[in-house]
């Protein structure tokens, strides 16, 4: 090392400092940068795909169309963020749904979509 001039020593120190900084950032990202509350924080399309598959014997509980929020509504097959927002908008304008069939009145939800989701929803 004695052969190395001071400039090279400075360069080595700079490299060490940068590597150490990278380690600190890596540690920070792993320990602090993640949230434990990741439930339902997901892409709507993928949630539909996942939801369409039965997980074991247990059937998922139906989603209440009078209470559910956007994320919960997104779990329904064929319901994306836009349609979920329209359902909530409809709810705010007309009050609670009286029957499941009333869902057809929401713009964008036709008979086909209703048939697909009717078993997974409740009032």
């Amino acid at each position: 090392m004695s052969e190395l001039p001071v400039q090279k020593r400075k360069a080595i120190l700079l490299v060490i400092a940068l590597l150490s900084l990278a380690l600190v950032l890596g540690w920070f990202k792993r320990v602090v940068g993640t949230s434990s509350d990741n439930m339902l924080n997901l892409d709507c399309q993928i949630s539909q795909s996942l939801n369409s598959i039965s997980n074991g014997e247990k059937k998922p509980s139906p989603i209440s169309i009078n209470i559910a929020d956007v994320k919960a509504l997104c779990l329904l097959s064929g319901i994306g963020e836009v349609k979920a927002l329209r359902i909530i908008e409809y709810r705010q304008m007309h009050g609670k749904f009286n029957c499941l069939k009333e869902l057809i009145n929401v713009k964008g939800i036709g008979q086909k979509t209703f048939e697909r989701i009717k078993n997974n929803i409740s009032l």
Partner: protein, 506 residues
């Protein structure tokens, strides 16, 4: 002290080993590292003290990096994986090429969403999938699969490398088993960029050429040597090569990279380009080849060493192979410190380290008169390299494979030239068969001949009495003692060489 990078890397490795066996809190290491960096700054003008504090920094960095690799994010799939299997649905992207075995296909996926007990979770981390279905899996494609999710079991005796440890080295903590009645759907989404897609299609085409023109055993061998896919090598070949200590021929290694450099340099020599541009293009070819073979440790090491050599030529600097090797180790371990405990990493680096340090000393032992004859000199170089590699890997081979192969030096001398011919003819066969498919059956004959020849020669070698000795389980402490002595010898050789160099300058 010359070659500082070598010492930094060694201390970095010591740090990883220390953190592996001694439990230290990450924050304690981080504070120590911070102090060491400040100390190094204050000793900037004192070369010896600065060097010592720099060594301490690298030691602490290695230890901290290893601790960091054990800290998993809260949304890591490991945190949701039970020890015994439960039904789960997983949405993930396939990130490894599926390996098709008798009744199953095995591949690694990058988890995205997990449906477990009616909860849908956004997760991250890798999962190894065992699929007992006939589906053809597309690499980089997105899948939605239902199966049993569990932590991988360990299959081997305690203390030795087992399946669970092997997966942990690859950053895999969960396993999904998809049986016949489970659900597997391949979505039409392919998130790979155009480069990855292109590379994947080249690999598929190469595999198609190999499978359609070669016999089963030759195809398995060529796939291992060119594509790095060892899953289809017939067991008889594997066992036979293991017993002669030449199983490394099945791994894509530095020799392959060397051949690629020669071919690329030869190819670019036909173009009127500046030598710096040619070298840069060769570097790109090397990186491409490394990517093509799936970033395997031995190829990554050889690619880094080759690139450093070419870069040194470009900027007119001296090339130091030992420093290049150290840089390779540092980069690979920085990306995944658990690789240090991977047998492939250990074999690759130990063999090259001892080839670089011990082999020249062995070569010096031969009489000078013999070296004047070109063929004898070539033979002696071969013996020195083979013996150097054998000494370097002796302990690892004995520990992991319970075998002692005294015939290895002779076997390597005979097998390596055949391997060279196989790789050369395989590259020629694949490239020309890709361009002129009509020529494929003819060119395949060479590959068939050389692979059979390799097997026959190897069988002959292992039939020699005492060619190999099967060993009982060896304690790790003996291996540490062996490598401790070897490291002391290597440092002695390094010191002696630098003293001799100084004397010759005087």
């Amino acid at each position: 002290m010359k070659k500082p990078l070598v010492f930094f890397t060694i201390f970095f490795i010591f740090g990883i080993v220390w953190a592996r066996f001694v439990s230290v809190p990450a924050w304690g290491l981080l504070i120590s590292l911070f102090i060491a960096v400040i100390v190094a700054y204050f000793f900037l003008k004192d070369a010896k003290l600065f060097f010592l504090s720099a060594l301490a920094c690298f030691f602490l960095m290695g230890a901290f990096l290893f601790c960091l690799s054990l800290i998993l994010p809260q949304d890591h799939i490991k945190n949701y994986t039970p020890s015994s299997g439960v039904n789960a649905v997983l949405t993930a992207t396939v990130i490894s090429e599926p390996v098709y075995k008798k009744n199953k296909s095995v591949f690694v996926v990058k988890a995205q969403y997990l449906k477990l007990f009616d909860s849908i979770l956004k997760v991250r981390g890798k999962v190894i999938v065992w699929c007992f279905k006939d589906d053809q899996i597309n690499m980089h494609g997105q899948i939605t699969a239902q199966g049993k999710l569990y932590k991988p079991y360990s299959f081997k005796a305690k203390g030795k490398l087992n399946y669970r440890d092997y997966l942990r080295q690859r950053d895999i903590y969960s396993q999904l088993s998809i049986s016949g009645d489970s659900f597997l759907r391949q979505e039409k989404i392919n998130k790979a960029n155009f480069m990855t897609k292109g590379l994947s299609s080249i690999r598929t085409k190469t595999r198609y050429i190999i499978d359609n023109n070669l016999s089963f055993s030759a195809a398995g061998l060529i796939s291992a040597m060119i594509l790095g896919d060892r899953s289809r090598v017939p067991d008889i070949y594997n066992e036979s090569l293991k017993r002669s200590g030449t199983v490394h021929v099945l791994a894509v290694s530095g020799l392959h990279t060397g051949i690629i450099i020669i071919i690329a340099l030869l190819f670019f020599s036909f173009f009127p380009l500046h030598y710096r541009i040619k070298y840069l293009l060769v570097m790109l070819v090397l990186v491409f080849y490394c990517w093509f073979t799936g970033w395997r440790v031995s190829v990554s090491r050889a690619t880094i060493m080759g690139s450093v050599f070419l870069l040194a030529e470009i900027i007119n600097r001296d090339y130091d192979s030992l420093s290049a090797l150290s840089l390779g180790a540092l980069i690979i371990l920085w990306l995944n410190p658990a690789q240090l405990f991977n047998v492939g990493f250990q074999l690759s680096f130990c063999s090259v380290f001892s080839i670089l340090i011990i082999s020249p000393r062995i070569f010096d032992c031969f009489s000078f008169d013999y070296k004047k004859v070109k063929i004898l000199r070539f033979l002696m170089q071969g013996v020195s390299v083979s013996l150097g590699a054998w000494i370097g890997t002796l302990g690892i081979v004995a520990y992991y494979f319970n075998i002692f192969t005294p015939i290895s030096v002779l076997a390597n001398l005979l097998i390596i030239p055949i391997l060279f011919l196989i790789i050369l003819s395989a590259i020629l066969f694949i490239v020309l068969a890709g361009i002129f498919p009509v020529s494929a059956p003819l060119l395949a004959l060479n590959c068939e001949f050389f692979t059979v020849f390799l097997y026959k020669v190897n069988s002959l070698i292992i039939s020699i009495p005492k060619a190999y000795i099967l060993l009982p389980n060896i304690s790790l402490k003996y291996i540490f003692v062996y490598y401790g002595i070897l490291i002391i010898i290597c440092f002695y050789i390094l010191h002696k060489t630098s003293v001799e160099n100084l004397e010759s300058i005087d």
